[in-house]
């Protein structure tokens, strides 16, 4: 990863992108790029500028992808091990189709993907040791290793209401708060499914494949999404409000 970050062509292109935003034309050192990104008007809301900042490192970053054109996470490892990323909010992302995108982002606290529908990712948040809250949207699936070693995970939001979000493998939660012996996590689900808990039907998470095993560990607290602070997918909440 390090060799990729210091390629001169890469840095040249980043400098060009910054100059395009600022109207400048000067050469920059990487440290000057970080400063320049901070001066970009509206940079805090510009996902590209923020992404570049996170890429370069050097300051804590909340990544806000509130752009209707950003509908998929297919970054394929580009953000791996970026310890400056703290929070990600991507309200238009419906597809997560690359593996280990945020692997090793050890200061990541909060991941909000309320519109996520197609989650074809494995290991997405592997070893994000401080990750406390994840909004997994209406995704139909949690694939292998997605929450591996998420030892701080306290809130998981599953908004799918027509069927259970399938758990493809119990190893999705290995080393997390939901694993055997883990400290526990609250999972928020819609009332349409909450009302089926324990009835043994196809809509019962407690009886569902792989979820039933975790239920057996006693590490899940089920909660109803409606009426909770997380009901509004775009509400003003973060991991700090849990």
């Amino acid at each position: 990863m390090a060799e990729y970050l210091i390629q001169s062509e890469t840095l040249d292109d980043i400098a060009d992108a910054i100059n395009a935003k600022t109207g400048g034309s000067s050469a920059m050192t990487p440290a000057e790029m970080v400063t320049a990104i901070g001066t970009i008007s509206g940079g805090g809301d510009n996902p590209v500028a923020v992404s570049i900042g996170a890429w370069l490192g050097g300051f804590a970053v909340d990544m806000n992808f509130s752009d209707e054109h950003i509908t998929s996470f297919d970054l394929k490892g580009l953000l791996r091990d970026k310890t400056t990323i703290r929070r990600v909010y991507a309200p238009y992302v419906t597809m997560f189709n690359a593996d280990t995108v945020f692997l090793g982002c050890s200061n990541l606290l909060c991941m909000r993907l309320p519109a996520l529908a197609n989650a074809q990712t494995t290991g997405a948040f592997q070893s994000c040791s401080k990750l406390k809250l994840v909004d997994w949207g209406v995704a139909n699936l949690i694939r292998a290793s997605v929450f591996n070693n998420n030892a701080a995970l306290k809130v998981l939001i599953l908004r799918r209401s027509t069927a259970i979000t399938a758990l493809q493998n119990v190893n999705a939660f290995t080393g997390s708060t939901l694993a055997s012996g883990g400290s526990g996590c609250t999972i928020y689900i819609p009332k349409a499914l909450y009302d089926h808990l324990g009835d043994g039907t196809a809509l019962d998470y407690k009886a569902a494949t792989n979820w039933s095993t975790i239920e057996g560990y006693g590490t899940i607290t089920w909660a109803q999404l409606e009426g909770s602070i997380y009901e509004d997918p775009n509400g003003n909440w973060t991991e700090e409000t849990t």
């Binding site: 890469t10 590209v48 570049i52 394929k76 580009l78 493809q168 494949t209 039933s212």
Partner: protein, 75 residues
């Protein structure tokens, strides 16, 4: 071949189902790398597609991602 193993958690019996050929196990159109179910449900699985190996990003993958970011910045 489908393999099933019994195990218990807190006194409750479960069945672990997996493929010894490295394939998904499939039920009701959903593919699982490994399926763990309460034994009383008697769920039946068939073998599906091969499980993917853990993929690591290639240089080409990184270049593509980089183009996405920088391409957006130049707009």
């Amino acid at each position: 071949m489908i393999v099933q193993e019994h195990f218990t958690i807190n006194g409750r019996e479960f069945i672990r189902t997996y493929s010894d050929a490295g394939r998904y196990v499939v039920r009701d159109g959903i593919s699982y790398g490994e399926a763990n179910d309460p034994a009383e449900f008697g769920r039946v699985y068939t073998e599906g597609e091969l499980l993917p190996s853990e993929e690591q990003p290639t240089v080409e993958d990184k270049a593509e991602a980089y183009d996405i970011l920088i391409g957006g910045a130049a707009e």
